[in-house]
Symmetry: C3
Subunit: 140 residues, 3 copies
């Protein structure tokens, strides 16, 4: 039984949905030691989130941004938490809807995802700084 | 410490929300070996998803389909990813909102869920083929 | 390798979003035994859910309640599952959108979350009773 845990600093990105599969894997040489296990990727923030979706066509990620802006609008009349900017409260809501972590199976030293799956960093703030992940790998 | 991992092929189903608890459990005789642990169920696709919800009344699952179609409509004017059909981009969005995996506690050889909880396969495409799961069991 | 699993009874709360980080941690003295690991917190219900978000300003949690009531309304004309009250079907939908579990990294005997992150109990029913969690800790 093996356990590895490390914090990974992501570069600051603009608001939107960004593929980070390769970046994350490149920081995890320990993956190769695991034949069968799980990878837990956690983001330590409340206005950015993680999800898994289509990694081939960039317009999918653009449509994610458009749809989430419609489904969770800025300046809704019922928002009370408005002091940190019009993008702040929607960011918290989007982060909760998408989630703060993804768990991916590991098989033979690699993430065992589908052909079209990739990990998205979902940046919901207009002017975000770098984001921290905690990645925990476990397995045999 | 025990680890089991297997890929399970689900039958093709029509668009909507479908209970798969019994089908998944029937493929996992290894569950009986685990007194205390976790089951991670992952779907290897970006237009279908997994969630846990009410397993008794079929109208709940019908209302899930109705509500998700309203909350994530087809043919939204802002969609750019439209070449794969009007059901495709909503399918990606619904999959991200619901999630690509569920993790369930294992206690005394069984899924330890609430009385009314079941695992849903959420099929978001009109003409989907069979779907693959990766199930990872771990525990003592 | 250590495993701990226990069921925790949460007090009945009113409909809305409630911070439970301290309450959960206070029930888990076993956390101190784990240098590196994961905590899985699962709710055994289909009309309440768990998420992780901002733990400082109470208006954030009020805005969560307002926004989810807008995004998943009561008495939608397409609901068929209406016999258990107008708050019931929205509760199931909100629970699926937010999710039935959160997984948090453990580092040096503590939850390794961001400065502003806390665990929310999301109570979606008007007159809910006490809720059960299953918490599973694992690590070295």
């Amino acid at each position: 039984m093996k356990w590895y845990q490390k914090e990974i600093r992501l570069p600051a990105v603009k608001r939107g949905f960004h593929l980070i599969t390769d970046l994350v894997e490149s920081q995890l040489p320990e993956l190769e030691d695991i034949k069968m296990g799980l990878a837990h990727v956690f983001i330590k923030h409340t206005s950015a989130s993680l999800t898994i979706n289509e990694d081939a066509d960039p317009t999918v990620r653009q449509d994610f941004e458009s749809h989430f802006n419609k489904m969770v609008p800025e300046n809704a009349p019922y928002y009370k938490h408005t002091l940190e900017g019009s993008d702040d409260m929607p960011a918290h809501l989007k982060a909760a809807i998408l989630g703060s972590s993804v768990t991916v199976p590991i098989t033979n030293g690699k993430f065992n995802m589908g052909t079209w799956q990739g990990i998205y960093l979902c940046e919901h703030r207009d002017h975000a700084s770098k984001r921290w992940l905690v990645v925990t790998l476990q397995g045999n």
